[in-house]
Symmetry: C2
């Protein structure tokens, strides 16, 4: 086994989730990630934890969803498992990244609704989402498998303590601010409140790789328009140039250049899918290549992402409403050119550079 | 996907387990059986059941057991899952049938003891054990992968109703009998009582392929000696020529020609491992090749098998004790030559032929 697989597993177990003796661990992984599952079991054994693994292959999900003809129920046995679980490790890794491309979006939306209690239970525990470098994901990124392995394993082996310090600046400023304005190019002009909400420093815990600072918009505060100029992959389909319009937090109009039907399915899932659940600011300079994989793309240093759907409860202050939804779909804005993030009218990022990185001395004229 | 995989899945779902709408299903499968898992999900979807899959790869188990240094606890999350489960489908299929060959037998025995409550919960539900034809199991059987696929898929597609009728004769006779005597070659001379216990007709339900009639010996009734002249594979190791001696049901001496240490581990697991839990009579003439796989070998028409360890509760009458153990290890006697099974002194099988097949007209002289 490549020694980097065991290093990756050690980072997940020791740093991301802090697994301890007696912890009931559930790993969710596709069959392509077999080596990584073995490495996780080895590390869990050293920690005296109890790992079991749920098979998450998208071929099986497709087989289930395309042959299902009636309504979906919440699977009670899965819920019972998660109730007794302490730590959840989700491993992504597709042999074929377009495996779910022919699932009906409405069916998928209905399935996600039925799975909502399961998702909520899972998110209430310690969890980590990470990536195993498969040939399918390499192909999606347009890389050789070897180069993609290098890309993934380098990204997860960052100096997370240094990254934490770097991001702490941003956490402090977001926590002190009330209003966020994002402008980019000719189409994006968005205003939202984060008053009373909490900014989280993601340095490789819930996401590995990490490298962002995120919070929740106050649910009904969002207004304006946004053009997501970075593509996203969802349900095995590429969605390009998503445009959203907001009034009082709710989406009033949307479009996409490609696979708009996937958006129809997402927004039909529940009312919470029509609101934003997350504002994230990518701060990981080690991820310098767009790879059509949200776990990596949203962390890139020159990007901002917004998620429609569920908010992370820990980002929502006591007096604000937690947006609930069975969806959580991140979408990315490229901030490297003609772009600004303002906090209470102070520019905190301009064209991808943070104010605390260079003070914008040159930009004040 | 080979159409025989979907036929196999349909047999498991429709015939073996009778899965119905709303059933909470747990599949346990190795990553090598990915195609079969997909086919099971398709069929479960048609039945409106809820399948999830636990990854059972022996590499992961080995990684866990070889890195574990302290005592084992029962994993409560797995127990909670099984408590809410209606149907359990266990799929075997090794890429490498000797994957667990370097696990310490004592560690394995201790692990099995900790897993005992989980096993009991699982056995209390509707369950089926079946085989996916992998390259590793083909190699163990000394066959090409293609020939082994043919072997497995032919065995599971038997006319199970015809098999049920054929076996019903044997069930009737066992249920009417009190004493069983098994003699074979020069070393096997075993006497046991089945008084009050129940014979079960296995026609592809709990085991697929099925093809045996089995019951439980009265726990303390077994006496005599037995030489298992067919090899068995356990923990990735071949055990040859097991010899056991019994007094009042308990094993008083044992030996094996090869890998006797595995037996030491089995018998050290708990006291129940020192008693027989099952007497099984193979009746499946379609399985005509020994393949080093108990699921198939014990069903062969010319064999008898005995299991040390746990008895199936449904085979034990109300007034008799159910032998409990974390072990259940089947061992086979070749009955094709110089052998007899007697029920209350009547010969029911001689040299592999059943009395109700030909009446032994020629054998009474």
């Amino acid at each position: 086994m490549d020694s980097r697989i065991r290093e990756h597993a050690a980072t997940v177990v020791d740093h991301s989730t802090g697994i301890e003796a007696g912890d009931n661990v559930v790993i969710s992984a596709p069959s392509a990630a077999e080596d990584f599952v073995v490495a996780l079991y080895e590390r869990c054994a050293e920690k005296e934890a109890h790992p079991i693994t749920l098979y998450s292959d998208s071929r099986a999900t497709r087989g289930f969803l395309t042959n299902h003809t009636t309504t979906f129920d919440t699977p009670e046995h899965l819920l019972a498992l998660y109730e007794e679980m302490d730590v959840y490790i989700a491993v992504r890794g597709d042999r074929n990244a377009t495996e779910t491309a022919d699932i009906d979006p409405d069916t998928n939306a209905e399935y996600r609704r039925a799975m909502q209690p399961v998702l909520q239970e899972r998110l209430s525990k310690t969890w980590c989402l990470t990536q195993y470098p498969t040939s399918g994901n390499a192909q999606l990124a347009g890389m050789s498998t070897d180069a993609y392995q290098e890309f993934v394993w380098n990204a997860v082996r960052l100096d997370w303590e240094a990254q934490r310090s770097h991001q702490a600046e941003m956490v402090e400023r977001l926590n002190a601010a009330n209003e966020v304005r994002i402008t980019s190019g000719e189409e994006t002009e968005l205003k939202l409140s984060i008053e009373g909400n909490v900014a989280i420093n993601d340095y490789g815990e819930k996401n590995l790789p990490g490298g962002e600072v995120f919070t929740a918009p106050v649910k009904t505060s969002v207004s304006g328009t946004v053009h997501f100029d970075m593509p996203l992959y969802r349900q095995g389909r590429e969605i390009r140039d998503v445009r959203l319009e907001f009034e009082n937090g709710r989406i009033t109009a949307y479009s996409a250049e490609r696979n708009e039907a996937v958006l129809d399915g997402i927004f039909a899932t529940d009312d919470g899918a029509m609101y934003l659940g997350e504002l994230g600011i990518g701060m990981n300079r080690a991820i310098d290549t767009f790879s059509y994989n949200m776990l990596f793309d949203e962390k890139m240093g020159d990007t901002v992402h917004l998620a429609v759907g569920s908010a992370y409860p820990e980002t929502v202050g006591e007096r604000n409403e937690v947006n609930e939804s069975a969806e959580h779909v991140d979408m990315i804005i490229d901030m490297s050119e003609d772009s600004e993030i303002r906090l209470d009218d102070e520019v905190i990022q301009r064209n991808g550079t943070f104010q605390f990185e260079d003070g914008f001395a040159h930009a004040q004229d």
